[in-house]
Subunit: 491 residues, 2 copies
Amino acid sequence: MWFGIIMAGGSGTRFWPLSRELYPKQFLSLDGGSSLLQGTIDRVVPLIPQERLWIMVGPKHEAETRRILRLAEREGLPARVFVEPQSRNTLTPLAVAAACLVRSDPDAVLAVLASDHLIAPQEKFLALLKQACTIAQEQDAILTFGVRPTRPETGFGYIEMGELIPDESKGIFSVFQVKNFVEKPDRERAERYITGKKHLWNSGMLVFRAQVFLEELRQYQPEFHKNLETYTETLKTESESRALADLYANAPLTSVDYGLLEKSRKVWTISTDLDWKDVGSWSALDEIAEKDEAGNIVRGNVVSFHNENCILYGDKRILATIGLKDLVVVDTDDATLVCHKDEAQKVREVVNELKSRNCIEAQEHRTTHRPWGHYTILDQGPNYKIKNVTVNPRSRLSYQMHLHRSEHWVVIAGTARITLEGQEIFLHVNQSIDIPKTTRHRIENPGKVPLVIIEVQNGEYLEEDDIIRFSDDYQRQTEENPTGSGTGEKA
Amino acid sequence: MWFGIIMAGGSGTRFWPLSRELYPKQFLSLDGGSSLLQGTIDRVVPLIPQERLWIMVGPKHEAETRRILRLAEREGLPARVFVEPQSRNTLTPLAVAAACLVRSDPDAVLAVLASDHLIAPQEKFLALLKQACTIAQEQDAILTFGVRPTRPETGFGYIEMGELIPDESKGIFSVFQVKNFVEKPDRERAERYITGKKHLWNSGMLVFRAQVFLEELRQYQPEFHKNLETYTETLKTESESRALADLYANAPLTSVDYGLLEKSRKVWTISTDLDWKDVGSWSALDEIAEKDEAGNIVRGNVVSFHNENCILYGDKRILATIGLKDLVVVDTDDATLVCHKDEAQKVREVVNELKSRNCIEAQEHRTTHRPWGHYTILDQGPNYKIKNVTVNPRSRLSYQMHLHRSEHWVVIAGTARITLEGQEIFLHVNQSIDIPKTTRHRIENPGKVPLVIIEVQNGEYLEEDDIIRFSDDYQRQTEENPTGSGTGEKA
């Protein structure tokens, strides 16, 4: 069977302040439609149904990934969200996925896709994917997807084509041996690649039979391959998650390109003229978004006079722009970026600076999503924090307790069922309740419309990690379930 | 006696979004110190004590003006805040002040000062003011303050000097007849004025004996002068405020320059090389504020890389700027401005656009000051509004009632004395109370530290004008005092 492996890591720096460490690029919509992750799933499901998709994420991105999957409300079994215990580049997650899948299906074919690329047209992509999967099914080959370059891009790696493989090139796309992988070239070399017609952009997409991949791994990463086998023996046992953590702790910190593809002799490339975009920075939006007559890309609450060739992203607040040229302005709830397009790469420096100052704005948005809904911090000061908490219909928070803060809730929309020390109370709009420190409590929305509560927290310590959970609908760590599979989030 | 008349009108457009219609330039600190209004008062009080200062304001600016006066905590009687019932340019308020003052002091000398200029050095200004007041006391002359130009400025009006008046020029500064007032010139003429040395900048400051001013008014604005006399007959009677409203309704919509000075033959000018600045736009900040090595003026929460010659004003949120040149960026709670310095005059267009869209951001800040403290809107949506309300020590709001909203209060700092339908209740941190619709209520801070309350409003109509006041410490309109001298504000 064919499986899709969607790589959804990311550090959230390049599109800051719209992206954050907890909210990287794949969660954004860059072209005004759905999120890039959702777009990736939509693109592949006509060929590979969602129950055969694995989405490889870090612990920090699990909740938002699950939220996006829920939003899609697709019928049938959901995609699998595979939570990597830590980030070890790309070789490790692919090896783990291959090793797991080959046990239930020795002939499993894996199609590896990035979660944050834009690809069009859909029909051509599906034809390409189908041809690649069909070849991989029958041949002992690892297929890379090479995109015919349209400009001397210095931001991508390249694949140097070798011999044509005539038998496999009878489909729409031609297939070649790979002669060489080339790192990001300088301008001059990139221009030679264009005229030489022997090089393709390395899109990062791959298709292979799991068995072939694992064989190559045994040959070129024997130590890691051995550890991988140790891990797969624990699958579906109690020690599985511990074994996975061990595997990752000792896994090579290398990319699949460097750690395997550049060594293997079984690597082919399928050549395509797909419209493929790995939008790498704010300024690269110019390639994909619609512009007004003056060349501006404008979204949100913007009042704009005499601007030229700008990217202007407003949010709720008013963003007024006058007489600007070649600028990126991105206004969010808690941070504003104003940046010359030529310097868009330096957004990374800003994020690093914020991290070194321990600024939460590098990591999170002011609104945080949870499996049960979301909350926004409205105000905070010494000993208090005010939140707008929205609970989705028929959802509830964990049954929990805080050591250092009391909470006071006022319902402003919907109906709440509150559990306080085992007692159930219904609260309607305009009603309120006090939750003293060290009392067990739960908010539930039993209704059909969102429940909105204003929460006033008081106490000497107001961080999210002051929480003791007694039970939880989302398998997060509780007193009864100390390891908690739904890691990485509180409340 | 000598009196100071401080003109504190203003529309709040030029320094938007830091200034607003309700918060014009004189309330801002442009040089990082106290507000321009406070600076104006500080500058004049060594010569004219504050109880002899009249601050001429519109109804919208009364509360903030009084707040600034309270903040100064000067000993002795306070300055008088004269609330003009409507804005009629500059002739009317000066005539009214002169007519009122002349009744108690027939020899009253008035020094007219703008509230939003920067002037240095202090000693020279005081010497100038003293010389002008001394002359005005003895001569039938209206003295303008002419500043010797240092550049061919096209944004100011000019005064053409006539004959020297030798007897009055024995002080530090020379005094001349005024030959002519010149409107803002074009660049070429402005350059000629510089080389010709016959022209001075018209600073707008004036000194005159009230009687002289009124005599000239009788001659050149006889109709208005008659109405003025009708009004002054009602002074200290019940009909005074009504008569003032009538006077303003029919007053000429003209400036003192155009309506009187250009006609009068008694106008002199006192020539000075004072460092006088009427900072007219964001870009003009370049003249007054301190810069870093790259020529940037930076304030607030700014992360800045590779910027040149920019004005970067952050607030609470993070403002990240990269690779900018010659830009003004001003970030506030509810609005952000990004503007090329050469286009700073066009901020006016933005404000007009916002007004035409009925955007509150043209008028108010998200934090609103009241005589008893201030409040900030944290969040609002259909049928709810959340405020952080801060009540100053020993202050209280009016005893009031709302028809369309209930309120729920949670104390997060300080101690509150709540009156609800005649009952008094103390609330401490962490305690809360419900205020149903149509119940009479009052919040008071009886303590020594600020009282901070989170207010959750619920109802079908949540504007500030849903208020019925029963009594008020600040003479605002109540059921018992339907006209209310403290106009223009709610709550």
